[in-house]
Subunit: 391 residues, 2 copies
Amino acid sequence: MLSISIPRPKCLQKPLAVPQRHMFGPGPSNVPPRIIEAGAKPVIGHMHPELLQIMDDIKSGIQYIFQTQNPMTLAVSSTGHSAMECAFVNSVEPGDGVLVAVNGLWGERAMDIAERLGSRVNTIVAPPGAFFSNAEIEQALSKYRPVMFFLAHGESSTGVLHPLDGIGQLCHKYNCLFVVDSVASFGSAPLCMDQQDIDIVYTGSQKVLNAPPGTAPISFSERACQKIFNRKTKPVSFALDLKWLASYWGCDGKPSRVYHHTGPVSGFYSLRESLAVFAEEGLEKSWERHGKVAEYFHAGLENMGLKLFVKEKKARLPAVTTIVAPHGYDWKEIQSYIMKTHDLEISGGLGPSAGLVLRVGLMGCNSTKENVDMVLAALKDALKHCHKSKV
Amino acid sequence: MLSISIPRPKCLQKPLAVPQRHMFGPGPSNVPPRIIEAGAKPVIGHMHPELLQIMDDIKSGIQYIFQTQNPMTLAVSSTGHSAMECAFVNSVEPGDGVLVAVNGLWGERAMDIAERLGSRVNTIVAPPGAFFSNAEIEQALSKYRPVMFFLAHGESSTGVLHPLDGIGQLCHKYNCLFVVDSVASFGSAPLCMDQQDIDIVYTGSQKVLNAPPGTAPISFSERACQKIFNRKTKPVSFALDLKWLASYWGCDGKPSRVYHHTGPVSGFYSLRESLAVFAEEGLEKSWERHGKVAEYFHAGLENMGLKLFVKEKKARLPAVTTIVAPHGYDWKEIQSYIMKTHDLEISGGLGPSAGLVLRVGLMGCNSTKENVDMVLAALKDALKHCHKSKV
């Protein structure tokens, strides 16, 4: 006979309390009421026709935001990280050569994922804040002859926006798939998947799209599908197996969908709404707005005497700005002062940029001059009130 | 110069419309307003102290619902399927022997996952609707000497509730981990992880817990952790790597949490609230209520002349009832008549039960006599109005 020995936890008797905060870190960003409300609609079945229609709408939305005609376009039922894993798990077989551009945390993570899958990983490495020339990339492609090249378009750990032009063509010249992580760049800087010969691109819901975290748009080119659907081995993950996902999302051209997993129904609602909001403004206007707001922000920072971590203007990620941690201050104190005094999140560094920078994300609806002014005022206030060390 | 060639999709200009429906299939189930509202609170950061506190509350809630003191208790940031994958990906190394009890779809899926990981899979197989004796299980354990034995407590495809007593002890006698899928059984039938010597158990948010799909409670015993943290190879998945998850969830005893992925913040809110609602009623009362409502339902079905798919009373899953597809009818017509006329979802079979059964799920807040009466009335109405074939 079973008996209850673990009592009900007292902590669950307290009501759930969540503060309202300006989410100006590198994501998640603030979720506007319209998208929150969409996510609060009644839950229906993961195979109900209305939900399949919503998934179709999401697919069209993702084709638009990535500027692609790929039928193999869908949302992974988890965060951007799982989308990265989905790209690798499906494309790479044990022994395959993978080339990873490492200029921050996301390259490191991609390397880790590729290694776990038993691929032969080679890297090109640049210091935090820097990026690669096409010549360097071509040299590595020619030397290592990988089946896949990974590049973070937006390296949110260092604030670098990597140039993309010509790299897809280079990859294809060497018969290699071009995989782009656009989690932190999407919507804030130009990217057109088909025109730029990108084979796999993904992003997350919680950045410029302003939806809650938990879904991740991804698209696969015909070339990527060719490799994926001619694998000799099954992908190690059932949950991320593109054959199953393609069927659930109706990307395989077959009339009926097959149950694979229970999609995050509420997450699909908010993702659809976020795509609708985004499409209302339009890609070009979103790129333009993020670019202008970032310029205004960067000028304001420099006027305050702060330094930007990324030297080259054109390589600055508009959605996530990295500021050199002000000399003589403890960056943690600045961050927590601003959180406490201004209800405003800015973030420290991550991975290779830890301790070196402060990071400010102004994404989607948060990317406005008013918010820039708010952040600048908060920073000024913090520099006045935080302890200046005597070193 | 990039140019926009894919226009904004027209479908996204239509407002998001979602029907209100009685969700009486095998899940997702209806989400009550209190839990919906929790999920609609403002999104904060995935590492903010308030969110870490919410995650701690969730951990306590899961320890309560599974009746375990395991510190290694957390929620996977995806659906129950990923929790299944999380169990296997961490515990199994290539070449390890895995024994899977297959008496429905979930055993088949577990087998698929284990095979992808390169383990040596053996099975014991029972026809849909049946289950295994402890003697059969011991025989297989002794023959195959696996490192892990998988059993679905609730086989939602066939409606079987598998007995658990004594199996954990058998597994440990043969130095084998006991892994239990309780996605469809949790909260509706007794399960006490520690008392029943279960090494890994998981469930989903969208069944008896009545939260939206997208998070999955899971717990690992000390014995499971011993195997997992002494692996020779890294788990193939970074996203599901327990070392990283343990750090993010503060299960590793270290004072500071390390960023791993962006947790589904809104999903954590609704999961916490669903655990709070569940704890208010209490485990024993929930088991009792689901049991009584199921008995009342089953009697009502038999009074109507319908047959239950699972012969043995004690092996009937209280939360998901499988009804033999009524002779002379097309089950699909019954299902769609009820959906259209009564705004009520019941479901057909799945995997090995496809075409054989109708499935009705009454889970969490849906498990009431009033809802039983509603389903019975809908079924009666359908049997009156649907076409009886002349065969």
